[in-house]
């Protein structure tokens, strides 16, 4: 029981770490748990990586003290603007029942987690072992990552997930259960941000239905693809935070900067997060005037890109480059298997339900008063699909089994694009925002 409380305390601190960044950019967002968690995890990952490079051993105090001190600086600003923040965070006017559909989705994910029905094998093989080793080593163990025997553990995969697991391990020892049991919270956070940030844009019944459908779809896809404990749970949550900001908040420099913090979490979570961040930044920078277009793009993608380059440079100097190396670990680019890859990746979107997750969201777009407003999101889904295909057209070997185990998880990003595309199609002001 005490161990569980220590875990809870360590995880509850993460949003506090994100407070400084969120308040510095837009204090009205200071009580959005999803944004705080994404910012907190990104800041925590950067700090833990920095400490490792400086050879400073991790401890709860060494990590917590500077981050809490920085967050405390933002408290006077919160106090000064409490009325404005209170108005922004105020009640949506929506009844509590509007959260019931999403709650049902989260409940089934909780059951899958606690009964170990959908545990990710990648968690058992490398996300968990890496986190455990980092916690024991009190730092990122580059010798462990570069060991020849560990090359299948994807040594240069972005560090956020093992670092967050290692962070909670510093408090209470490593638990194989904690990352799996935390999965429903990430699904809930994704849907909560959809509901909260969308409440001023969408009509009540549409918002309740769509946020519920999003939670159910996300939970369903994570469960049937055995993704609990895997980085996808984090990834899709951070992607949802970024898309919720870009879809529901009016265009402004603050919104773009806050979305860029969410994209930082995305690129630090998985390799494919870089594709998500760049495509999203490009899609939300579309503008006739080049100066504005590029300014907006760099506001959204600049910091995530810098962090990504930093991590690749660390990988280069520590001798752990693999996924980010110039030559793919799976072999050179080849179009030999292109038809097979396209057909298998398309089939991977079946999700054991006759493609229902896609049809459900496309149906909401088709029934909307402004389907054209979702064009940006449909284009993003298609471009991301092409990126997924690109990932598999490497190497001479038949990629069928590789696609079978990983493509359904990779396709979760297009599912998220479609969910927010449906929201855009039902948002009366979306057409005003499109440039």
């Amino acid at each position: 029981m005490i161990r569980a409380l220590e875990y809870a305390a360590s995880l509850a601190l993460v949003p506090v770490f994100g407070l400084s960044a969120v308040v510095a950019i837009d204090e009205t967002m200071a009580f959005e748990p999803g944004l705080l968690a994404a910012a907190g995890c990104a800041i925590l990952a950067v700090e833990m990586t920095f400490l490792s490079l400086m050879k400073i051993a991790w401890s709860p105090l060494v990590i917590t003290a500077p981050l809490v001190a920085i967050s405390a600086v933002s408290l006077p600003r919160l106090r000064r603007n409490r009325l404005r923040i209170g108005r922004a965070a105020g009640s949506s006017g929506l009844p509590a029942w509007s959260l019931v559909p999403g709650g049902l989705g989260v409940a089934l994910v909780s059951m899958a987690a606690v009964t170990a029905t959908s545990t990710s094998i990648d968690f058992v093989y490398f996300w968990g072992p890496k986190a455990q080793q980092f916690a024991l080593h009190r730092g990122i163990d580059f010798a462990y990552l570069s060991a020849r025997d560990n090359f299948l553990m994807h040594p240069d995969y972005p560090p956020l997930v093992p670092l967050v697991f290692a962070w909670s391990s510093l408090w209470a020892g490593f638990s194989w259960w904690a990352p799996i049991l935390s999965a429903p919270f990430f699904v809930a956070l994704s849907a909560w941000s959809f509901w909260r940030l969308g409440r001023r844009s969408l009509e009540g019944s549409i918002l309740a239905g769509l946020s519920g459908l999003f939670a159910i779809t996300l939970g369903y896809c994570l469960v049937v693809t055995n993704s609990l404990g895997n980085a996808e749970v984090f990834l899709v949550c951070w992607e949802s935070q970024a898309l919720a900001l870009l879809t529901f908040q009016p265009q402004s420099k603050r919104r773009d900067l806050l979305a860029s913090v969410m994209l930082c979490a995305v690129v630090l979570t998985k390799v494919e997060g870089a594709a998500f961040a760049m495509l999203t930044a490009a899609a939300f920078s579309v503008e006739r005037r080049p100066a504005i277009r590029w300014g907006r793009f760099f506001r959204l993608a600049g910091i995530p890109l810098a962090l990504l380059v930093g991590w690749i440079a660390i990988g280069h100097f520590e001798g752990i480059r693999e996924a980010y190396s110039r030559s793919s670990p799976y072999g050179p680019f080849t179009l030999v298997h292109l038809p097979l890859v396209v057909s298998r990746v398309l089939a991977a979107g079946n999700y054991e339900a006759g493609f229902l997750p896609w049809f459900a969201l496309l149906g909401v777009i088709a029934l909307s008063p402004r389907p054209a407003a979702s064009f940006r999101y449909l284009a993003l889904s298609f471009l991301y699909f092409l990126f997924v295909v690109f990932c598999y057209v490497h190497g001479a070997g038949n990629p069928r089994d590789w696609i079978l185990v990983s493509a359904p998880r990779l396709l979760l990003a297009p599912v998220a694009f479609l969910a927010f595309g449906a929201a855009a199609a039902w948002n009366p002001v979306e057409s005003d925002r499109s440039s």
Binding site: S92, G93, L94, L104, G105, L108, S110, M111, A112, V114, T115, A116, T117, S118, T119, I121, F123, V124, Y125, F126, G128, P129, Q132, Q133, D149, L152, M153, W176, W177, I180, S201, L202, E203, G204, S205, I206, L207, G209, L210, G212, L213, I216, G219, Y220, V223, V224, N226, E352, A353, L356, P357, A360, G363, V364, L367, S368, P369, W426, N427, P428
Partner: protein, 147 residues
């Protein structure tokens, strides 16, 4: 909150979302039920209902946890599963053991001929080897020590 779309279109969309949501919930419930009864009781291990061979995975984790209590910290150990010694099997066994035995130095089982580890953990079946002495038979397998 804004309301600018015809009520009939809205009602149709809400009905569509509700129908799709219910079908997905039912499909998820069916997926869960196919792997065991509905419960919120914690499983014995994190793989107890996952994948095509959950019983094997569960037994492997319990076996690794049991030998982890017997092998001294810092000792070298290899996990093998007789009959499953292909390249991918060796890698999978290595990574699973590396995670469950963090206090030991886990090595892949295919190096044992040239560079025998201090301990050999054989899952499911015995792995007779003249260089090794059987030290225990925890549930799920056999633990050997280098003579």
């Amino acid at each position: 909150m804004r309301s600018s779309s015809p009520p009939r279109r809205q009602a149709a969309t809400v009905a569509w979302m509700a129908a799709c949501g219910l079908v997905l919930l039912a499909a998820e419930a069916r997926h869960l039920r196919a792997r065991g009864r509905f419960t919120f009781r914690r499983a014995a291990t994190i793989l107890s209902r996952t994948g095509a061979t959950p019983r094997t995975s569960e037994a492997a984790i319990l076996f690794l946890d049991a030998i982890g209590r017997q092998i001294p910290a810092g000792a070298t150990v290899a996990l093998l599963r007789p009959g499953y010694e292909g390249y991918q099997d060796v890698e999978d066994a290595y990574m699973a053991a590396a995670g469950r035995l963090p206090n030991c130095r886990v090595v892949p089982s295919n190096i044992r001929a040239a560079n025998p580890p201090e301990y050999l953990a054989s899952f499911e079946s015995p792995a007779p080897d003249a260089r090794y002495l059987l030290v225990s038979r925890p549930p799920g397998g056999f633990l050997y020590r280098l003579r």
